[in-house]
């Protein structure tokens, strides 16, 4: 090594040493304070303080973040935004819309910012809304619910999906943190022409459904269209089969992250085995782990596949592509003997604590969930969460509304499986992907689910 004569004089060297020392001291001092902030719960507006007259609020820009990117959803929200701006010319709506996946990823950071949006669509699950409530980043909407009468129009069970206790520990009761516009449920879309060709009626029981799948396979058709590259659709497919084996209460325990469930019990093992047998029999699209969700339902719309197990949110797009050829039916009744349907609401609209115009935000939420708004949603091909029986519908939309009505009246709705724990989304989506790809056994799959679920439950209740 070549000897280098230091070009830094002695005075400069000691100055540098002093700076480094200062740095070190600062670093040690910072070690004493931890990152993040302690929350003291979300603020709640008392009914008497709430301003409902938007016209009197002066010139406001309302920033709204939504994930209504699909056909019918986009149409309806744009119509509602235009109507709101027309009624209140002093308000300008700055709408930012992203896909479901993208919104999930950016929301965390955005609502902590001082300039958080005024209204956001936040996923009800524990890793999003639950975590935000725990950190005090969402306003409680109880005061607004009283003033605007939301509790009269929305049934308790629907509001429960967006309710958390103050500290985010209990899901399903407590304060209201969001209000949804739409309902949604996972059912079976089917190609009417193909089903007719096969000479089958829409199957009502598990046995009939399996027979239909085999008949389709034998006739050279693709039984179930499926794309799981971004692995969240697998959560719904697994849930669909699980609903036919496990009882509603257990699934609710999983979905809300409450005690009382066991992933490794007989019913869930049977469900996982059933899914495996369907994969082995070749009922799903070949190479499904390499196909994304959107291309898969688009392929279904283009006539590839007899059945598509997905949500009612595809109504507008499928109706546009397939017209009356597409049908929607409730999941078949399985071993449990009762109808169980995964479904809840669309993403609720919430008000971040760091947003500026809380009262205007609440008035906006009231506007987009009003009876008139429910009509706009219906016309755009959506499933409104309340007052479905008051809408004029026909064709496939009527089938979706009927399914929703039946599920509601029979109390058959159970929450999504990824709501239950903060890690559930990652654990279940990647687990099902590996399982369906043949990389994990039933025991391994259910083992990881049970570990995540039970460790969360014990931490949450005991800890």
């Amino acid at each position: 090594m070549i000897q280098r004569r230091s070009i830094i004089g002695p005075r400069r060297r000691s100055a540098m040493r002093a700076t480094v020392a200062a740095f070190a001291v600062t670093a040690l001092a910072l070690a004493a304070c931890a990152p993040g902030e302690d929350s003291d719960g979300g603020e709640e507006a008392a009914p008497s303080d709430i301003e409902t007259n938007v016209a009197d609020m002066g010139d406001i820009t309302l920033t709204v973040w939504d994930q209504q990117v699909r056909g019918g959803q986009a149409e309806s929200i744009e119509a509602l935004n235009a109507a709101f701006e027309e009624e209140y010319p002093n308000v300008t709506i700055d709408r930012v819309s992203r896909s479901f996946e993208d919104l999930q990823r950016v929301l965390r950071l955005a609502i902590q910012d001082d300039e958080a949006p005024d209204v956001v669509q936040a996923n009800n699950n524990r890793s999003q809304m639950g975590a935000f409530v725990e950190a005090g980043l969402l306003r409680s909407l109880d005061g607004y619910a009283d003033v605007y009468g939301w509790k009269d129009r929305y049934p308790e069970s629907i509001l429960a999906h967006s309710s958390y206790s103050d500290d985010g520990a209990v899901f399903g009761e407590g304060n209201l943190y969001g209000l949804p516009q739409t309902g949604e449920l996972i059912g079976v879309w089917y190609n009417k022409a193909k089903l007719q060709q096969l000479g089958i009626e829409p199957p009502q029981s598990l046995a009939d459904f399996e027979a239909a799948l085999q008949a389709a396979k034998d006739a050279g058709e693709l039984p179930i269209q499926f794309g799981n590259k971004d692995p969240w659709p697998g959560i719904h497919t697994f849930g669909f089969i699980q609903n036919m084996f496990a009882d509603r209460e257990e699934i609710r325990a999983f979905g809300y992250g409450n005690p009382g469930g066991d992933w490794t019990d007989e019913a869930n093992t049977q469900a996982a085995d059933e899914l495996q047998s369907w994969v082995d029999a070749g009922y799903f699209t070949s190479g499904f782990n390499g196909i994304d969700y959107d291309p898969s339902w688009q392929d279904f719309a283009n006539g590839e596949g007899v059945f598509l197990i997905s949500g009612s949110w595809l109504l507008a797009d499928l109706r546009d592509a397939m017209g009356d050829n597409v049908g929607f039916m409730l999941p078949p009744v399985g071993e449990t003997g009762e109808l169980t349907v995964t479904g809840a609401t669309g993403l609720p609209f919430a008000v971040p604590t760091e947003g500026d115009n809380a009262d205007a935000a609440a008035a906006y939420i009231d506007f987009i969930t009003s009876p008139e708004a429910m009509q706009t949603l219906t016309e755009a091909g959506e499933l409104p969460v309340v007052e479905t029986d008051q809408q004029q519908v026909s064709g496939t939309q009527a089938e979706v509304f009927e399914a929703w009505g039946t599920a509601g009246s029979e109390g058959a709705l159970v929450p999504y499986l990824d709501w239950g724990t903060p890690d559930a989304y990652t654990v279940i989506s990647t687990g099902v992907q590996a399982f369906m790809g043949g990389d994990e056994s039933t025991e391994e799959l259910l083992g990881t689910f049970e570990e995540d679920y039970s460790s969360f439950v014990s931490e949450n209740s005991g800890g």
């Binding site: 993040g36 990823r105 990389d439």
Partner: protein, 339 residues
């Protein structure tokens, strides 16, 4: 020379004599420099650019940028690695637990293993291919060389996200690649490229090779063109064949370019994020394509484990630093040997 006495007089105030050794110590020069007359003229003691402190003003703009966007986040991140924090509520001190986890938890070690495999695809193979192609192209008298050079370099110019989307489409089960295999009658070779745990990482790697080969090729072509023709001719006179010529004349001359190519491609391999995130979302089938940068993103923004995420990032930074130092040492040693 009438003017000489004047000059001698002026110099006399600042310099002892023209033959005297130059004064390099500032402290000795100060008494003379303090006289007003000499202050008006540039000091002749020491190198030009006195006073030294002016230098700091020159580097200040760049330093502010560096401090704000690189040094501060790095230090802040380093501080975060000692905490367990979900990004929302108060964090808790955990000392070196995060580092321990990164070194021992198989879930956290696996992504680093995947990066090593990607290094082979992003770096080793493109360099070998680049050398081969450069050696071949130097000998050939092709018309339209600029056209070929442009086309081969094009993958470097396209944004990585666009590359990922295009290749994602190519790799689809019913996409162009499988179609090609079927047309050639190689049905058995068709795979679910991005959905099969055994093939996903290799598929990502192949895209990296496609992107990196052009860069290496251009670098080596430029390096080889600097080698004087006489060296090749003298090697030929000594009886060297084409391969020997390349190995003994071309290759040693490329040491600098090799270092650059190795540094750029290895860093690209270790840092890769957009390719993996767009082509194989969710960390790939059975987590087979998760890489450190994806782990950082997933743990920080989806799982809410910011402490672990930043620890992975810091460890990755350290690895990249060591790799770069290693490559530069290799290049420097080459210089010393030649001298």
């Amino acid at each position: 020379m009438g003017r000489a006495p004047c000059r001698v007089r002026t110099y006399h105030e600042n310099v002892v004599s023209p033959q005297a050794p130059r004064v390099t110590d500032v402290t000795e020069a100060t008494p003379v420099a303090r006289t007003p007359a000499s202050r008006a003229r540039p000091s002749r003691q020491g190198p030009p650019g006195e006073p030294r402190r002016v230098a700091y003003l020159y580097i200040l703009p760049a330093f502010v940028f560096f401090a704000g966007f690189m040094a501060w986040p790095l230090l802040h991140g380093f501080w975060l690695t000692f905490y367990e924090w979900n990004g929302l509520t108060l964090g808790t001190w955990v000392g070196l637990d995060n580092y321990h986890a990164v070194l021992t938890d198989p879930e956290l070690r696996e992504p680093f293993g995947h990066s090593l495999i990607l290094v082979i695809f992003f770096s080793v193979i493109p360099i070998v291919l680049g050398l081969t192609l450069a050696g071949l192209m130097m000998r050939a008298r092709l018309r339209g060389m600029p056209f070929f050079r442009t086309v081969l370099f094009l993958p470097q110019v396209i944004a990585m996200v666009v590359v990922a989307i295009a290749w994602g489409h190519i790799y689809e089960p019913d996409g162009p690649l499988n179609d090609l295999l079927r047309t050639l009658g190689l049905d058995d070779l068709t795979q679910v490229w991005l959905g099969d745990p055994s093939w996903a990482l290799v598929s990502v790697g192949i895209v990296g090779t496609w992107v990196g080969t052009g860069l290496c090729l251009i670098l080596f072509l430029a390096g080889l063109s600097k080698v004087p023709r006489e060296l090749y001719e003298s090697a030929r006179l000594d009886g060297a064949g084409a391969v020997r010529e390349f190995l003994n004349v071309g290759l040693p001359a490329l040491r600098g370019e090799l270092a650059v190519a190795a540094t750029l491609t290895m860093i690209a391999a270790l840092r890769t994020f957009d390719l993996v995130y767009v082509m194989t979302p969710g960390g790939g089938p059975s987590g087979s394509t998760s890489v450190p940068s994806y782990e950082v993103y997933k743990r920080a923004f989806i799982d809410g484990e910011v402490g672990t995420a930043v620890t992975v990032a810091i460890v990755l930074t350290a690895i990249i630093l060591l790799v770069t130092i290693g490559i530069n040492r290799f290049a420097e040693r080459g210089d010393e040997v030649r001298l």
